[in-house]
Symmetry: C2
Subunit: 336 residues, 2 copies
DNA sequence: CTGAAAGCGCTTACAG
DNA sequence: CTGAAAGCGCTTACAG
């Protein structure tokens, strides 16, 4: 920087001003400095800048899962190949990129929370996007206690004031139930997500309570784990106990893909013998044969909105928390 | 830090020493400082530390693709939901995590290279893991010119000295060809990857040249793009022109999944009518019915090795470049 | 083994 | 509009 200042015949302060586009620099000097910058190939040192501005230009995307049996590459593998998390990452990146803000992705389980908290406290990032899917997860409160700008992926279980985005899961499940009824299915069943996850619980509630109002109580349910293999297992068990099922709601697309595979193995035709509806509208939906009818969540847009909210909180720390809600929609394809 | 020093009755230098586990601190003092740290809740400021140590504790994972029609969320979406890149990320993370090194993922196309280069020059990271899949990609050379520690995902096209990892793609393709022949297939064909990518070209070469030696010349080939939808298209075209095909090698699993879908639509039984072999052994292989026989690349292990190599280069900038090679293996499942 | 001091490379009131 | 100077919060020779 001294070199640039010398080459341009100005002070370091002025060099700094042109780098940061301060309006108070005379055009001629600005140009002279710019030439000196190109000539010397100078670039700012981001650590030095961060030290004084208190801004890093990075945010963390924390993906918090319940404790894993083994925190290893199989956990990381599941996270990084999950189409849902992939869409979140893509949505967040696309919103952040224009602002030149970078994303550090931190998958974590509860055995690992302290590492994440330490990382955040060390000031590596300006804020955090927190994807927490379990009721009992203490991380949202811990992050909130840190006082660092944060946006959550759903209403936090704890009563903390924080911005979050939201989809009406119950409404989504109801859309699925309505469609199955409309199709004339009479023996409905569902593969739910994990019932200790709000997303799992709410989709089941929404599905069941709509059917109950239509006089259909006690719809069979087997709990799955939101993975494809888990969906296969759950569907196999469900179909073994309830072979007559003709309409199946599966709480996410990955499990639905597994369920379709099982139906195929069992020689059941979809949708003629069994109509199937998934949830998410992820890429897995198009990998099914027939293509999967599913409840769409605009995941990319939600993640982008989380990023925008976070940027706003970083720019103005006194900004009041707000939540923004997205509507699920039914995407009708071949499976129901 | 002053606060901690005062509370422990020592200098800041000593506080720094205990934080960094310098061996030359008396046990009693060390303990006193540690208590003061817990009492005050002190954590280091990473920007200040980086400014003096020249270490950030982060590395970049740069995923360089050819120029996109639109650099937007659909590009990011493809990258972040691609099982191959997901495995790379997981493998790199799992190797880096024990060293407390963080990963910032930078998908980029050629319109965007200057941003990546600027980011790297600003010193945000200690090194870069570069996934570059195109022959003409100038990024490996640019990164090398920066003088920042880097490890490549394959032998760089340019003659630059750099560490890289490698799988023998030709051998992998040959494994597929051998297996198809052994099965008794006589009318072979292939869906290749993009032929401007070494991985696409080499798999095709390996497949064809083995067959040629067996007297099978001019095996039909349609070029695909490594996506599932691209695999569907390519398979459809191939089968329209060559309906008699009884053995199909598809250059990655995602395209193979698409090809299997097309075969299903066409009423062809797999493997009885057509045997199908993929490449990668990604999660897509298990989403096929029947499950996909495929050439396994140990992608996670390769990415972990890249990370280890990078860490070694960061620790010792004078270390000589080396390459480490992995063997592909055939994983036999139901499709062939 | 410990401390005083210099220095990492920036930005930003403050004065002019 | 520009510059001299202080200061961001650490680490690390250097001296003792």
């Amino acid at each position: 920087m001294d070199e640039v200042a010398a080459a341009a015949g100005v002070s370091r302060a002025t060099v700094s001003r042109v780098i940061n586009n301060a309006p108070t620099v005379e055009a001629k000097i600005r140009e002279r400095v710019q030439r000196a910058i190109s000539a010397t190939g100078y670039v700012v040192n981001s650590a030095a800048r961060t030290l004084v501005t208190r801004r890093t230009g990075s945010v963390a995307l924390v993906i918090s899962e319940p404790e894993q049996r083994e925190y290893d590459s199989s956990f990381l593998n599941r996270i990084f190949t999950d189409p849902f998390f992939g869409r979140i990452t893509a949505g967040a990146q696309s919103a952040l990129r224009p602002h030149d803000v970078h994303l550090v992705i931190l998958p974590t389980d509860s055995s690992d929370h302290h590492q994440v908290v330490r990382y955040l406290r060390q000031g590596h990032v300006d804020g955090v996007l927190l994807i927490s899917s379990h009721d009992e997860d203490p991380l949202p409160e811990q992050v909130h206690a840190l006082g660092i700008p944060a946006v959550m992926s759903a209403r936090p279980a704890a009563a903390i004031p924080a911005s979050f985005v939201h989809t009406d899961q119950r409404l989504g499940a109801r859309l699925a139930a309505e469609h199955l009824i409309r199709r004339g299915c009479t023996r409905l069943a569902t593969v739910s997500g994990p019932l200790d996850m709000p997303a799992g619980q709410e989709r089941l509630d929404g599905f069941r309570s709509f059917l109950q109002r239509r006089g259909l109580a006690d719809v069979p349910c087997v709990e799955g784990d939101f993975t494809r293999a888990g969906g296969e297992d759950a569907a196999r068990r469900l179909l073994a106990e309830h072979p007559g099922v003709d309409g199946l709601f599966v709480a996410n697309d990955l499990m639905a893909e597994g369920a379709m595979l099982v139906l195929h193995d069992l020689g059941r035709r979809v949708p003629d013998d069994v109509a199937v509806i998934g949830f998410d509208d992820s890429s897995a939906a198009l990998a099914c044969r027939p293509p999967l009818t599913t409840v769409r969540q605009p995941v990319e847009e939600m993640a982008a909105e989380m990023a925008e909210l976070l940027l706003a909180h970083i720019a103005d720390p006194d900004r009041l928390p707000r939540s923004v809600s997205f509507q699920p929609t039914l995407v009708i394809r071949g499976s129901a």
